[in-house]
Amino acid sequence: MLTIGLMHYLILSAAIFCCGVFVMMTKRNAIGILIGVELVLNSVNINFIAFDRYSLVPGFDGQITALFVIVLAAAEAAVAVAICMNLYKNINTIDVDRGDALHG
């Protein structure tokens, strides 16, 4: 019988992290990139909670940090979506490649 341990959670979180980074690098749609960011943040949460659960030292720092990360992710998504809408109103697309008024 397989027992689920810290390593399983870490592999899951690393896999989600890699998916997130892959999405961030390949997507052209701004919302797609934001989804990648959210994936990475979720892998962060899995890490924090798994480390707390399987740690030998008692403490809640990781779980509390995970709560903060959820709040930060929500706040950032709100601002980012507002900015995407603003861009859509201006140039009718949220394709990051089409934003070429600034050459950088």
């Binding site: 992290f17 509390i64 980012a80 949220i94 950088g104």
Partner: protein, 560 residues
């Protein structure tokens, strides 16, 4: 009230004294509330909210100065459940950087009143966001807890994204904000992943304790790859705020797309806060090595990494600035280069004790102050020119020496100071920077790195000479007979004030109170090793044991 809370077995709550340590931030929050509530009672007025923001910044500044007496030497680590190391640190360095940020906020507010107050209809919202980012930045300067660092960086970033997008009908501004938010989100997420790995390794968020663990592991050669990766992630998140290469991609676009007041604000305040945070972090690592009993050279790799990124930032910023025709973009690359100069000190701060030895700290603070003044002056002139001529190109400056001499002369002072020419403040700042690098070059095996940094700083100063002089050449040597214009009085006064300050600093500091400044700078900082002192929770004496009686560190946990 007291006993009620005690019955609830609340382990910790702030007393009035401890809230007093937090007074500057509370004042900022209060100002935000006032700006939000005032239009409900008095009706909307952009100018009024600017005035409230100005007064709020000055009140915050005074409250911060008021705290200096309470942190005679070293500082306080407060507002935390554990006595050992609080979420927030209060030392003179924090106070000083807060003062710089608040003065700069007042300056930017004045600039906004000059340029946008007449046509802006959302002044309240603008200043709420502006002060919100100032709040995040002031928190960034005063923490050594990874959770607090992440929260503070986000608190500074989110309002910044919004104020970049503030000009809603402007396509450039919308694109700049999108780039900023995408890069910012990515770097914040990756930074948090690094933090989670570090937390997994050492099961603490306190940077000082982490520094000890890292030093032990690095000395033993375990987990090196993991440590390198997670440190890169965490420092990358901070360098994103500094806009150091290779995390600088957002900087020129955002600076070009945003309104010029916002550009001015971002160019100094967010960099200053992030630099102080970086140096605190790096210093805590160095002291951690000392506390763990490992060689102080454990963090050699970190020092080299930061030093080389600093050199690349300088060089890249200076070379890329050549191709720019837009003044805001040019100043953006200039700010990347200046961030590089200041980051060179990061390589010095990895040596334990350098933060309290005076020279590097004095160099950093003088550089920050000079940089704030010269950038405010240069951006003020650039803003006035762009409002008058409706163009942000370097060519808009042509003939400014004839058309508006009272703008051209301070601009020359600010640009010469940005290059680092005597007798302006920028020269002294660079001179002290080189002295600080040189002072450590004989001590350790890191000497090679420091000499390399010194040489690169000098070479970069020479490179930067030419692109700053393009603007000066346009102002005095080329004249396409455009009509004269009458610059606004207060704007001219502000630019000239900056120039006078630069000259004053340049002359006074040249031969003046260097030893005094070093002595003053040596007790600005609360050495990180005090933060790890375990204070017995039953001990109400709250003063960490110290060899000398005047060096006392109060921790919040005991002050119940």
């Amino acid at each position: 009230m007291h006993s009620l809370l005690a019955d609830l077995e609340l382990s910790w709550y702030p007393t009035l004294t401890e809230l007093g340590w937090f007074a500057p931030e509370l004042a900022l929050v209060g100002t935000i509330v006032v700006i939000l509530v005032a239009p409900l009672i008095l009706g909307r007025s952009a100018l009024r909210s600017a005035r409230i923001a100005f007064v709020g910044a000055l009140v915050t500044l005074l409250l911060a100065c008021n705290l200096v007496g309470q942190v005679s030497t070293g500082g306080l680590s407060g507002l935390a459940p554990e006595a050992a190391a609080g979420m927030l640190i209060l030392d003179k360095l924090t106070i000083l950087v807060k003062v710089i940020i608040m003065l700069f906020l007042a300056g930017v507010t004045a600039l906004w009143v000059l340029g946008s107050s007449a046509k802006e209809e959302f002044g309240e919202e603008f200043f709420v966001l502006m002060l919100g980012s100032a709040l995040g930045m002031s928190l960034m300067t005063s923490t050594l807890n990874l959770l607090m660092i992440a929260v503070a960086i986000e608190a500074a970033s989110l309002p910044s994204y919004s104020i970049v997008a503030f000009d809603k009908r402007n396509r450039k501004s919308a694109e700049a904000a999108l780039k900023y938010v995408v890069f910012g989100g990515i770097s914040a997420a990756i930074m948090l992943y690094g933090i989670s790995l570090i937390y997994g390794m050492y099961h603490t968020l306190n940077v000082v304790a982490i520094g000890e663990g890292l030093a032990r592991d690095l000395a033993a050669g375990t987990n090196t790859v993991l440590i390198g990766m997670s440190l890169f992630c965490v420092l990358g998140g901070i360098m994103f705020k500094i806009a150091a290469v290779p995390f600088h991609f957002w900087c020129p676009d955002v600076f070009e797309g945003a309104k010029i007041e916002v550009t001015t604000w971002l160019s100094v305040a967010s960099k200053a806060a992030a630099l102080v945070l970086l140096l605190r972090l790096v210093d805590a690592f160095g002291n951690g090595a000392l506390a763990a009993g490992e060689s102080i050279l454990t963090y050699n790799g970190l020092a080299w990494g930061i030093g080389i990124l600093a050199v690349i930032s300088c060089t890249w910023g200076n070379f890329a600035a050549y191709r720019q025709n837009n003044v805001k973009r040019l100043l953006a690359f200039s700010s990347i280069a200046h961030a590089g100069y200041m980051m060179m000190l990061g390589a010095v701060f990895t040596l334990p004790g350098s933060s309290t030895s005076g020279k590097p700290m004095a160099a950093l603070l003088l550089y920050l102050i000079m940089y704030a003044i010269m950038n405010l002056g240069a951006f003020t002139v650039a803003a006035i020119v762009s409002w008058q001529t409706k163009s942000e190109d370097v060519s808009a400056f042509s003939g400014l020496g004839r058309r508006a001499p009272w703008l051209a002369v301070p601009m020359v002072c600010c640009l010469a100071s940005l290059v680092g020419l005597p007798p302006f403040g920028g020269f002294i700042a660079k001179y002290w920077l080189l002295l600080a690098l040189g002072s450590k070059s004989a001590e350790t095996t890191l000497g090679t790195l420091y000499w390399f940094l010194i040489i690169m700083a000098v070479v970069n100063t020479l490179i930067s000479l030419f692109f700053y002089f393009r603007i000066i050449r346009a102002m005095f040597l080329s004249d396409d007979q455009q009509p004269e214009f009458r610059p606004p009085f207060f704007g001219t006064a502000m630019a000239n004030l900056c120039a006078v300050l630069l000259v004053l600093f340049g002359v006074v500091m040249l031969n003046g109170p260097k030893d005094l400044a070093y002595r003053y700078a040596s007790d600005l900082y609360m050495p990180a090793r005090y933060l790890t002192k375990q204070v017995d929770s039953s001990d109400a004496a709250l003063v960490a044991t110290e060899p000398t009686p005047e060096v006392g560190v109060a921790t919040a946990g005991g002050a119940r």
